[in-house]
Subunit: 220 residues, 2 copies
Amino acid sequence: MVDVAVDLVVLTIRGGELCTLLIRRGVAPHKGRWALPGGFVLADEDLAAAAGRELREETGVASVAGHLEQLRTYGAPRRDPRGRVVSVAYLALLPDLPVPTAGSDAAVAHWRPAHTATRLAFDHDTILRDGIERASAKLEYTSLAAAFCPPEFTIAELRAVYEAVWGTDLDPRNFHRKATTTDGFVKATGRRRAQAAGRPAELFQRGDAEVLYPPLLRPR
Amino acid sequence: MVDVAVDLVVLTIRGGELCTLLIRRGVAPHKGRWALPGGFVLADEDLAAAAGRELREETGVASVAGHLEQLRTYGAPRRDPRGRVVSVAYLALLPDLPVPTAGSDAAVAHWRPAHTATRLAFDHDTILRDGIERASAKLEYTSLAAAFCPPEFTIAELRAVYEAVWGTDLDPRNFHRKATTTDGFVKATGRRRAQAAGRPAELFQRGDAEVLYPPLLRPR
DNA sequence: AAAATAGTGTCTATTAGACAGTATGCC
DNA sequence: GGCATACTGTCTAATAGACACTATTTT
C-alpha cells in the first residue's frame, strides 16, 4: 500500500521565455526548497481530476483554456523520505495569465524560467526536464502550441511559443507560411490587432487538427 | 493509501502480424477473461524493476534484447472491483521468441493478434490500444523497430515490422533506401542470409541513433 | 519619410513516392 | 532459363530553408 500524489509541470510563456510554476515548500521534507505544485490524490478521486483540482488550487485557473495531460509516473522507493509515494506527474500548458500566482494555498506559487530552474525538491528536477522535453516534442507534431496562446492570437505570438520552448530562432516568413498552410493548424478570424508599430497582424484561432501533417520539425 | 500494480503491453511480430501477450485469468475478478500480464509492485521495488520482473515471470525472457518503457498510468477509482488499484502500464517490444509462452506462473501466457484483441479484463482494452498507438508513433521518429528484430536482421524483416504495426504496405525499394541512408538507423555487418528463394539479403544491426531524423512518417 | 512589423513570392536543396531496371540466389 | 527476392537508379512532386520584396501601420 502506497500513497499516490500528483505533481504538476505547469508551463507558460512570459516575456518570450518558457516559465514554470513553482512553490516554495513551507514544511519538511525539503523545507525552503522550490518544488512543483502537487498533492495527494483523494480516496475516491480520479488522477486527472486530482491534477485539475491542484491546478485550480495553485493557479486559480479554471483550466478551460490551455491543456492538461498525463506526463509520467515516478515511483522510486526512496524518492520521498516520508515513505513510499508514487507520483503521477501531469503537464499543463497555459496562456500567460493575468493572475498567475493567486494561490488559495498557504504556499504561494511563482513563475520561474523553466530552462534554468534546478535544485528542486524530491526528484522534481527530473520531472520538470521530462515535462519540457514532452512539450518540445509535442510542438513538432501537434497543434498544441496554441494552448500557450489566448483564444485569438497572431502568427508572431504562435512563433514566439516555438522559439521560447525550443530555445531557437525561427524564420518569421517561413513560419508564417507553414502555420497558415498546414491543414487545421490555425483558423483565420478576419480580425486584426494593432501592435505598437508596424502593420497590424491578422488574428487566428486554434484549428480543428490535433496532429500536424507534415510535422513542424525542430531545426537540428 | 492504494495498491500499485504494473500491467504489461508486450508486443512482438509473429507471422507478419503484430501480436500481444495475454493471460487467461484463473481467479476472480474477471475469471476466465483474457488480460494483460501484470502484478502488484513489491514494497521496496522500483516500478521499472517490477515491470521487468513480471516480464521475466510471464515470458521467461531476460529482456536483454527488446525494449521496455513506461506507457501510462491508469487510476480510475473503480477500475478494479477489489478496491483502489493504480496501475502503471509498461510497453515491451520483443523479437519473436522461440519460448514465447513459457510461464512459471500458474496462468499460461498466449500470443494473440494485437489489433483484434478485445473484451479484455479491467480497462485492459484501453491500455492495449494506448500501447499499440505508442508503438506506432515511436516507429515514426525512433529506431525502435529494431527492438522487434533479432540482433541481426534484413531490411525486409525491418520493413515487416513497420507493415505489421502500422497495418499498411510499404514500397520495398523506397523503404530500403530510407533505412540504409538515415543516419544511425542500421549498421551493415557485411554478412548475408540466404532465403528460401531469391538473392540473399544483407544482414544489419541496430544503429547508434535513438531518434530518426528526418522521421519515417506513416502514410496518410 | 523613416521605422517597424506583417505578409507574399521565388529560388534552391532535400526528401518522398512511383517505378524501371539490374543483381544474385534457387528450382 | 525461369522465377523470386534484393538492391540501385531515375524521374517527379512536395516541402523546407534562405531571402528579396511588398503591405500597412505608427512616429
